[in-house]
């Protein structure tokens, strides 16, 4: 299965690269791929911050001056603040003053204009920055998906790359579009937007197939690996105990926690019981004996049953690679064709017109060439699939939780057990009543006090 996963991994890399490259090249005419955009964004943010800090600092100083120096704001102080806070700290001059400041009025005169300029620059730079951010996040998630085989990363990478197009569409830039929609299916297939959409969808499909191939083969491989580690850890623990018993000096185990004890909860618990448990010698003895007994049990099992190892690793459950390759290709092809054909039907106004036989007024209306027209068919078609699946499920009458299947003997045994318990209770109750009655009768007859009752009385008096 590893081979199949690697083939699909390579296919995933190709489709992702193609998708990313197409997005890059289609958006390139907009002149948005400025490689210094992240730097410019950070610089603009600092400029805005410096302006705000300067404003706050002067306001505070003004307030203090109002309290202690009758409202007179010492120019030198403000200049000093500016030169220290803005120029020396961030080495930038966003206020139209190129040299060290000497006159505070120069700043205040253009303060609001400067603030406005900085905010507009920030707005523009934010988008430039976001394109890079989305691309960066997309690539990072894509790399993660290759290593960790998790669908979240695949979905994240897909959405991140498509988010670049969404942002660009929001900024009304040149983005991939299929407008007007070609009436011919083949023409529809060869448009640039359609190719990008197909590549993007292919990336999703191939990546999910890659995760399937990995997850269907991996548990069996992991199982084998875990068993090896467990047996090794067990063997080492037993040897160590033997060495301790022989009075030999034992060096610390070469096995790391991640590969050894942590991978083996039983041994870990046994170790904890020994090291951190009740500290009693007997408890340690139990833990040691448990590990040793497990070793003996496993050794016996592996010797007496030749299939035991294969069953523990579930080797026979590993699926065949050839079927997975074949079914991946056919399954993906069928899905691709169905999705493309259905989407064309749903999205194309000509098909809508043909199917609905609309009056001329509506056929020529502008609404029909709006994207929202897709909803007209999309909702019912999309709902039709889960509905038919629900009908099929209902027809096949599958039980989600099955009732307990007991054999006739088991049922009878449970019944007899219940009956026996009820009989015992009844008898005990009857005996209790009889004893109470007897005692009551004896109480009436005061001929002599029972010595046991006397003992009880005496005990409770004292």
């Amino acid at each position: 299965m590893k081979v199949v996963t690697w083939i699909l991994r390579i296919a995933s890399i190709i489709t992702f690269s193609l998708m990313a490259f197409m997005v890059y090249s289609i958006l390139d005419p907009n002149d948005i791929w400025h490689w210094n955009a992240p730097y410019t964004f950070v610089v603009t943010v600092f400029r805005l911050l410096s302006l705000i800090v300067f404003f706050l600092a002067t306001t505070m100083v003004g307030g203090l001056a109002g309290a202690f120096a009758a409202g007179a704001l010492p120019d030198n102080l403000v200049i000093g603040l500016y030169n220290t806070l803005v120029l020396r700290t961030w080495y930038m001059q966003p206020y139209g003053v190129s040299d060290p400041l000497t006159n505070i009025q120069q700043v205040w005169a253009s303060f609001f204009t400067n603030l406005n300029d900085v905010l507009i620059a920030l707005w523009n730079n934010t988008f430039l920055f976001l394109y890079f951010l989305c691309a960066g996040v997309g690539i990072a998630l894509f790399l993660q998906s290759l290593a960790r085989m998790d669908h979240k990363f695949v979905g994240g990478a897909f959405i991140s790359i498509q988010a670049i197009v969404i942002l660009a569409a929001y900024r009304a830039l040149i983005v991939p579009n299929i407008d007007p929609l070609p009436p011919d299916f083949l023409q529809f297939l060869t448009t640039q937007g359609q190719i990008l959409a197909l590549v993007s969808f292919a990336y999703l499909e191939v990546s999910y197939q890659m995760i399937y191939s990995h997850s269907v083969g991996k548990p069996v491989e992991d199982r084998e690996e875990t068993l090896k580690k467990q047996l090794l850890a067990l063997r080492q623990a037993t040897r160590k105990q033997d060495a301790i018993e022989r009075g030999e000096k034992v060096s610390s185990t070469g096995m790391s926690r991640s590969t050894g004890a942590t991978a083996f909860s039983f041994l870990r618990e046994a170790m904890e019981r020994k090291v951190m448990g009740g500290q009693s010698a007997l408890e340690s003895l139990d833990a040691v004996s448990d590990v040793r007994r497990l070793q003996i049990y496993v050794d016996d099992l592996l010797q007496s049953d030749s299939r035991a190892r294969d069953e523990l690793t579930a080797k026979a459950a590993a699926p065949s690679s050839s079927y997975v390759i074949g079914s991946t290709i056919t399954g993906s092809a069928i899905r691709f064709l169905t999705v493309v054909a259905l989407s064309f039907i749903l999205i194309s106004p000509n098909v809508v017109q043909m199917l609905l036989n609309l009056p001329i007024g509506i056929r020529d209306s502008v609404e029909l060439i709006q994207p929202e027209i897709v909803m007209l068919f999309l909702v019912p078609v999309v709902l039709l699939f889960p509905f038919s699946a629900a009908v099929i499920s209902w027809m096949s009458k599958r039980e989600v939780v099955e009732g307990e299947k007991l054999t006739k003997e088991e049922k009878e045994e449970a019944k007899a057990r219940k009956k026996n318990l009820a009989r015992k209770r009844r008898e005990a109750e009857k005996a209790r009543k009889a004893r109470a009655k007897e005692r009551k009768k004896r109480k009436g007859d005061e001929t002599g006090v029972d010595e046991w009752d006397k003992a009880l009385e005496d005990a409770y008096k004292g």
Partner: protein
């Protein structure tokens, strides 16, 4: 059912569709449609093929009865009895919470072809005695892309009876092995002088003694008539009365009063059987749950283990019912050892003792004292500490009164904690053997 990754696709589809509508972009709309259609298009086909009724699960275990602390291999075979491929199937076989997964894993995920089967196994350690069930088995089927799933729970239970731990016996045997001369060496024997084959000694002749018993050689040496005496070993008969009322379940999970009482009963039965004594066991609360009369049958130990394994701490202690049950079934004089926490009203206990003594039996009470089995006082805050000490004192006073009342009739009450429970039962047995209590 849509999986988490299915929802990621739905989210992406809706995001792209709404963006397409907002910015009048057909590319975004098309991609949104792809995502949404791609998600649902295979759903009917999946529903048609994913009929999990075609999956059969068979669980096999090496043994159905085992001791607490023993290991058990569980083999699970998953068979596809249908004519369909199951692209991705996950099988989780559940086991009792208190057990430990020692080796292997209790689940498998793979694909399964029509008519084929896959087998996996794992090794469990049973930690606490009782009646347990392995299962149910959860079968989850996903489609290839993992966007939809169906789940089915197969309530195929496998019953396993876990006997009380055998570690005390093992420990006892390992000590005996260390002594090389065996468990019995140095142990006091119950002897009766008279008939027998073992030489006991000489005594002076008294009129009425049989002539054949006179040892002429020794008589000649001593110059007086001497009779040779012989002895034979006698065995004792004991019955363990294990109280399983609700209060016996107090204490740390694996170290409750009941667990100690059960361990003590196992140890006593084993020791008795080793020395050819008869030891019976009665498990009771408000009814008699089980009674194994004293015996020497080969399966005697297993019968005792079985009723002890099933014991659950619930109900209240009806000593009178228990003793009347035992007395009616036991004709020979026996030493009856009660293992009870004496937390019920004392009157029924005294009445039960009255019945017991009246029938010629001897009795002894080994009573686990509740506060010694629960959280150490050091773990409490000041208020809880004061309260617990007050409760302990009151309980102690109460059981002292009961002990005083019982001592008048020769019945001892021995208060025990977790540390001295088992040594006490061993000592009691040794003393009973020495004194020859309840011989048969």
């Amino acid at each position: 059912m849509i999986t988490q990754r299915g929802f990621v696709v739905v989210f992406a589809g809706v995001l792209l569709l709404t963006s397409g509508f907002s910015f009048l972009n057909f590319y975004l709309v098309l991609l949104g449609v792809y995502c949404v259609i791609g998600l649902v298009v295979t759903l009917p086909l999946f529903a048609l093929t994913a009929n999990l009724a075609g999956i059969e699960v068979d669980r096999q275990i090496d043994k159905v009865k085992l001791f607490s602390g023993d290991f058990l291999r569980v083999r699970v075979t998953v068979r596809n009895a249908s004519r369909r491929h199951f692209d991705f199937i996950e099988v989780h076989d559940q086991y009792p919470e208190t057990w430990i997964l020692a080796i292997g894993e209790n689940f498998i995920a793979s694909r399964i072809e029509p008519g084929s089967s896959m087998t996996f196994s794992y090794i469990l350690q049973a930690r606490m005695r009782g009646r347990y069930f392995l299962g149910p088995t959860e079968v989850i089927m996903r489609d290839r892309l993992g966007m939809h799933y169906y789940k089915r729970i197969l309530k195929e239970h496998t019953e396993v009876l876990v006997y009380p731990t055998w570690k005390d016996v093992r420990r006892l045997e390992s000590f005996a092995k260390q002594r090389q001369l065996g468990l019995m060496f140095g142990a006091h024997r119950t002897k009766t002088v008279g008939m027998g084959t073992d030489f006991a000694g000489f005594r002076e002749y008294v009129p009425g003694d049989e002539f054949r018993l006179i040892d002429w050689k020794t008589s000649a040496k001593r110059g007086d008539m001497v009779v040779k005496q012989w002895e034979q070993e006698k065995n004792v008969q004991m019955i363990c009365m294990v109280d399983t009322s609700g209060s016996m379940g107090n204490g740390y999970p694996e170290n409750t009063k009941l667990e100690y009482a059960i361990r003590a009963a196992v140890l006593l039965t084993h020791m008795g059987m080793e020395r050819n004594d008869l030891v019976g066991t009665c498990v009771f609360s408000d009814i008699v749950h089980g009674y194994v009369p004293p015996g020497k049958r080969p399966n005697h130990m297993y019968d005792v283990l079985e009723i002890l394994a099933m014991a659950e701490p619930k109900g209240w202690s009806d000593y009178e019912t228990a003793i009347s049950h035992v007395v009616t079934q036991t004709k020979k004089r026996s030493l009856i050892i009660w293992m009870t926490d004496l937390e019920e009203s004392p009157a029924p206990l005294l009445n039960a003792m009255k019945t017991l003594v009246a029938n010629g039996h001897k009795a002894l009470i080994i009573s686990p004292f509740g506060p010694w089995f629960e959280a150490p006082v050091g773990q409490f805050g000041p208020v809880e500490k004061v309260l617990s000490e007050a409760v302990s004192e009151e309980l102690w006073e109460r059981r002292n009164k009961i002990a005083r009342a019982l001592s008048r009739f020769g019945i001892n009450v021995i208060n025990v904690g977790p540390e001295d429970f088992l040594p006490t039962i061993m000592r009691t047995y040794e003393q009973a053997k020495q004194r020859g209590v309840a011989m048969f």
